[in-house]
């Protein structure tokens, strides 16, 4: 069953066509990746899906509903969670409070004015479960901003998971990480995919990560989709090879 389908999506910033007639669809429960050189339009695509930018044309259908024009917080409520490329958490809230805020929001309790946060027993158990699965339970009393980068990324995923999304978008989950941190994050992404039965779409520049865990890969180049398919198909695709292997120098140059 298709959970998300993107149809002929376009977005230009000034003269730059950041997203160029992109169409793709995701199956329920799939773990798929978007790859492409820097500046290919990966983050823009995420921003379009999550309502942060409005596309010039095209449609984004999620579970049969057109998302275009909805504000970000409503798209989140429909079941699309997202994590960000640079760590994006609440720095002066504790780790526990970070996740708690998200869980409370998911259960529409953010505006509750009189019941103490410690008295939401069921929801706090949920917070505890999430903190265990992202491995931050022991650091729950630390301030989010004081965590190491890898832990901040985990916390960010925790925030996204707290919304029990049907679809989870992860923007470069291993960006800026050491190889150990990358390995543990990859394990975490896999675990999330299995444990929470969530459809996952992530962008990544590390090819080893992508080909190691993704079931489907979409290749984005200059804002347009060049190829979509299973890892083996992508690896064998001559056009992709041209982008990635033929322009290897360009790629390493742009990775910064």
């Amino acid at each position: 069953m298709t959970i998300l389908s993107i149809e002929h999506l376009n977005k230009a910033f000034g003269g730059l066509q950041a997203t160029n007639d992109v169409s793709l669809s995701l199956e329920q429960g799939e773990l798929s990746a978007i790859i492409g050189p820097n500046g290919a339009g990966k983050s823009t695509l995420f921003n379009l899906i999550t309502g942060y930018h409005r596309p010039d044309s095209g449609r984004v259908i999620f579970n049969g509903r057109d998302l275009i024009g909805l504000p970000p917080h409503e798209i989140v409520r429909l079941g699309i969670g997202r994590s960000f490329q640079r760590s994006n958490i609440f720095p002066r809230l504790t780790v526990f409070e970070n996740v708690q805020t998200a869980v409370l929001s998911h259960y529409q309790q953010s505006g509750h004015l009189w019941r103490g946060t410690s008295r939401f027993g069921k929801l706090n158990e949920q917070v505890e479960r999430i903190l265990h699965s992202i491995g931050l339970w022991d650091k729950r009393a630390r301030l989010g901003g004081k965590l190491a980068l890898g832990d901040q990324k985990r916390l960010e995923m925790g925030l996204a998971l707290a919304l029990e999304p049907k679809l989870l978008l992860l923007d470069e989950p291993t960006a800026g990480m050491s190889s150990e941190e990358t390995a543990s994050t990859v394990a975490l992404v896999k675990q999330i995919s299995d444990e929470f039965k969530v459809t996952l779409l992530f962008t990544e520049h590390d090819m080893a990560v992508v080909f190691g865990i993704a079931q489907t890969i979409h290749v984005l180049y200059y804002g347009g989709i060049v190829a979509s398919g299973k890892p083996q198909e992508i690896a064998d695709n001559p056009e992709v090879q041209k982008i990635y292997l033929g322009e290897k120098d360009a790629k390493s140059r742009f990775r910064g």
């Binding site: 609440f90 720095p91 809230l93 409070e97 953010s110 009189w114 946060t117 939401f120 630390r142």
Partner: protein, 314 residues
């Protein structure tokens, strides 16, 4: 230390309230008036700090809502002979209603632009009270001789009355700060963009905060009107907003009690220093500069906020 912490917060609150009430039998009339002023200044500062400290929105027009509360009481009681028991409860309602209108515009702007917009709206309300609606407000002269019921007309009884209202407001605000509303508000202060992406309607949340702050400012203004039996347009002028701002800064912006303590102490200090010099603004100015340069989260907040945050997670 550990044993002290196991005592629930409400016990401390109750003890403090009883002690404050007990003071009324010790203090003289002059000190009772001062103590009432301190309570009102504390309430005003807390009302601002919900917006500024917890919400991260620097509000330079808050005095307008304080003044509106005061004028609501004065106009109803003096011009229309409406009993104070009706007029006083209407003060926060009027302030909150106007807060809803003004806030609706202001929360659409962030940071500096928010601050300047609140300043603009505050000044608009000030000019309305000063000259546009001078027939009702008495213009520059304000309104004198607000009638006060017999039972709260003595300094002692009015202090106790103010203490009662203050305590009720404090409890209400305390409950709110422990509830998801303020947790979410702090999250918005930290990272509004991220808050949006966990499904929070940021603007609506901020608007509600603005209304709550205006509501309690209205109560503070109403209480002040009764205490002085007088209201004047200066209560709405933008520089009046700065007193609770400085009080909050000195008391600690990330806590509920900090601003109340800070504002009350500021008032006490004002009186104390006035005995020696007429240049109180100089002292206040220097104090502000020192606090800004030295302790950006305020004196109480520095020690209070983090351990408490850590505790709530356990």
């Amino acid at each position: 230390m550990q044993t002290l912490r196991t005592i629930p917060a409400w016990t401390w609150g109750l003890l403090a309230a009883v002690a404050l009430a007990g003071l009324s039998f010790v203090l003289g009339e002059f000190q009772l008036i001062l103590a009432s002023q301190m309570l009102i200044a504390g309430l005003f500062a807390m009302s601002l700090n919900i917006i500024m400290g917890f919400g991260g929105m620097v509000h330079f027009g808050h005095a307008a809502f304080y003044g509106l509360g005061a004028y609501t009481v004065a106009i109803l009681a003096k011009n229309y002979n409406i009993p104070l028991w009706v007029a006083l409860p209407l003060a926060p309602v009027v302030s909150a209603a106007l807060g809803a209108v003004v806030g609706w515009f202001c929360v659409r702007r962030v940071r500096l632009y928010f601050s300047i917009l609140t300043l603009a709206f505050g000044q608009i309300l000030y000019v309305i009270v000063l000259s546009v609606a001078a027939d009702f407000t008495g213009g520059d002269n304000g309104i004198h001789g607000i009638p006060v019921p017999e039972i709260i007309s003595s300094a002692r009884n009015y202090y106790l009355f103010t203490l009662l209202i203050f305590t009720l407001c404090f409890v209400a605000l305390f409950i709110i700060t422990k509830a998801p509303f303020v947790l979410t508000l702090r999250a918005i202060r930290e990272n509004a963009e991220r808050a949006q992406f966990i499904g929070v309607d940021v603007r609506r949340h901020q608007l509600t905060t603005f209304i709550i702050g205006s509501f309690f400012a209205g109560i503070a203004g109403g209480l002040m009107a009764i205490l002085n039996r007088f209201v004047g347009p200066d209560m709405l002028f933008w520089t009046t907003s700065s007193e609770p701002i400085l009080g909050s800064l000195m008391g600690g912006m990330f806590s509920l009690t900090g601003p109340a303590v800070g504002a009350a102490l500021l008032l006490g200090l004002h009186l104390f220093i006035s005995q020696y010099t007429e240049f109180w603004p100089t002292v206040l100015g220097i104090l502000t500069i020192i606090v800004v340069l030295a302790a950006p989260t305020g004196l109480v907040g520095l020690t209070d906020d983090l351990p408490r945050a850590a505790r709530s997670a356990e």
